[in-house]
Symmetry: C2
Subunit: 370 residues, 2 copies
């Protein structure tokens, strides 16, 4: 499905854009919270909307294992199953989880053998199976099946992997049965190797996908390497298609990604940090479990318009977190998601005003100050 | 503080009433969800309101230990601390938790020595301390400190306990420093002994409290004994004051309590059951983790108007519960609370129409049918 991506403006490498789904028009750069198991942890669809989150990601691997794609298909797809009716859903291909969660694995040309992290049962995921599962899940945007090697691997290993991922992309594409309602993205891999990122980007683009993902940029590299990986990939991607940087959601990385031509981000960070009591603020992360907040009756961030910051003090949220009350995690999750949706709103405004480089400097100086 | 309780109507032992707090007028019989640690587990204040819950209970023992009454006092009281601004809060006296959670204990005339269930530190709770803590928590309705003996104990033990609880009630009353803004209830104990319940009810009433609680009716007795305990107490309580049955929230027990002249109920049951996947329906409890709901795309209860029943299927909620996603517990908590607030709404209507006995028969026959 064509997402009708429109590149509204380019400025200092950053892109202001827009794409369309049946849920409406969506402005980029955009951030997606992650609903691993068909729920963004602790949150309702209404809370996501209230936090200005207009799109979510859900994980094919987890849903394939539980409850199973057939149940979601019978429910009428993920939107119906979750009663999420306010924006698009993107599903990943399962590759990342197979390689990170479900070790040990056995990778062949045909696909990947691995053991379920839930019950240890033997499973086999192929490019065709990934697309078949994603067709049944029924998300608006789906991903080609890729290998996501750890960092670092040898150039030789990565080259073979990239070539195989290209063949896998072709195989997945050829069985995509819902191209009228689901956009299919190709994934650029290649690790830190400029030639392989170029090869992967060019060859994937030649297959003319509905959008392009940049993968393998959240597997343990230093910042400089990470940003190079992005540059090497985006340099060779078509300008008229949306570009999605997989698994990256640190605020600084979002700003740096945007300047390297990325339109779409996802990450479990806002909800995972929340479960450990960490909240984003423009002055850096704070841990609300800290004893210094015991009698702090101010809100997390008085520049924030989220439900938590409109209604609850740090002292109360700290109490909830230390008492292990899930309402605390929920409040911090709402705040952290709103922090990132506000960040991309500000980024879009900065691009529109041709001041994304100044924005980067101001934002990073303040965020990293302490 | 006078709650201006008005007995609107009596019918077959049941009472239709109304009382006032600064939050408005409140109809009885009424059910209170429990917010043990200054939060009704998994729920926001807005969700409570949406579930027609107009009053909540919070636990003095837990809040005294964490975060401590001084922090809540500095926040401006529990309503401010929790940002719960839609209805009254009632705090218990801490006695029940001291006797049930914090064993071993050493009961003397002065008070109760026990060890914190959090860190094992030695603590001492007296009638004066309980009221002092509750004055700082700032709930609208507070409780006298009582001993809640286990069931069964000897008549001799219970008699001494009842007499001491009467002296404790007097001591607590004499230090209540916020009688202009906080209603203080006396607690009737006496176990299954008719003479001791009568003694306790009459002597407690003579102290002229703002309302009366019936305690010790949720500590392991059979139903018949439980209902007798209630009858023995309410027979000797003044008609023009509100009567609160502590810790009882089973749907059948609520109906039976109402017919024995009870106005107010509280229980952790709706939220505790929810955490284990159990949902109330008019046809009895169902466990949503059951495999038979795997592909059940109907709602928990199509007679229910709660958020969960308006938006989510049993198949989805089952998935959330089996995947240990807290949004599942939240949805079932909302449903279970709404089930009990709807039950008391229906009870009030039945009393108004002089058909509470018919209502009891219809309700119990259907609820216990399977």
């Amino acid at each position: 499905m064509d997402l009708k991506f429109k590149l509204i403006k380019e400025s200092s490498g950053a892109r202001l854009g827009e794409f369309e789904t049946k849920w409406g028009k969506h402005k980029t750069p955009m951030f997606m919270p992650v609903g691993t198991q068909a729920t963004v942890k602790t949150l309702s669809p209404e809370e996501l909307k209230d936090a200005h989150s207009d799109i979510i990601l859900s994980n094919t691997y987890h849903l394939w294992l539980r409850p199973g794609e057939d149940i979601i298909d019978k429910a009428g797809g993920l939107h119906e199953f979750m009663n999420y009716k306010t924006g698009p859903i993107l599903t990943d291909c399962g590759g990342f989880q197979v390689f990170s969660l479900a070790k040990p694995k056995d990778i062949s040309e045909e696909g990947v053998k691995f053991k379920s992290h839930l019950d240890g049962s033997s499973l086999f995921l192929t490019p065709e199976k990934s697309i078949e599962v994603q067709n049944k899940l029924g998300a608006d945007i789906i991903m080609s099946f890729d290998e996501c090697p750890p960092y670092p691997v040898t150039h030789e290993y990565m080259e073979n992997s990239v070539l195989r991922t290209l063949r896998w992309a072709q195989r997945g594409r050829s069985v995509h049965s819902k191209s009228d309602t689901q956009a299919l993205f190709g994934i650029v891999q290649g690790g830190e190797f400029e030639d392989l990122r170029r090869l992967s980007a060019i060859k994937t683009s030649e297959m003319d996908f509905d959008g392009y993902s940049v993968g393998g940029v959240s597997v343990g590299e230093d910042a400089e390497t990470k940003y190079k990986m992005i540059e090497y990939a985006t340099a060779h991607l078509p300008k008229d298609k949306i570009r999605y940087l997989m698994g990256v959601g640190d605020p600084v990385d979002i700003v740096e990604g945007v300047i390297r031509g990325i339109d779409l981000f996802d990450c479990v960070l806002p909800t995972r940090l929340a479960r450990h009591g960490n909240a984003f603020t423009r002055d850096g992360k704070i841990n609300l479990r800290n004893a210094k907040f015991k009698e702090d009756f101010s809100v997390i961030d008085n520049e924030c318009d989220c439900y938590a910051c409109k209604n609850f003090t740090k002292a109360y949220i700290r109490h909830l977190l230390t008492a292990d009350e899930s309402f605390g995690q929920r409040l911090v999750s709402i705040h952290n998601i709103r922090f990132l949706t506000k960040l991309v709103e500000d980024i879009r405004e900065a691009i529109d005003n041709d001041r994304i480089l100044e924005f980067r400097e101001e934002f990073i100086n303040r965020y990293k100050k302490k």
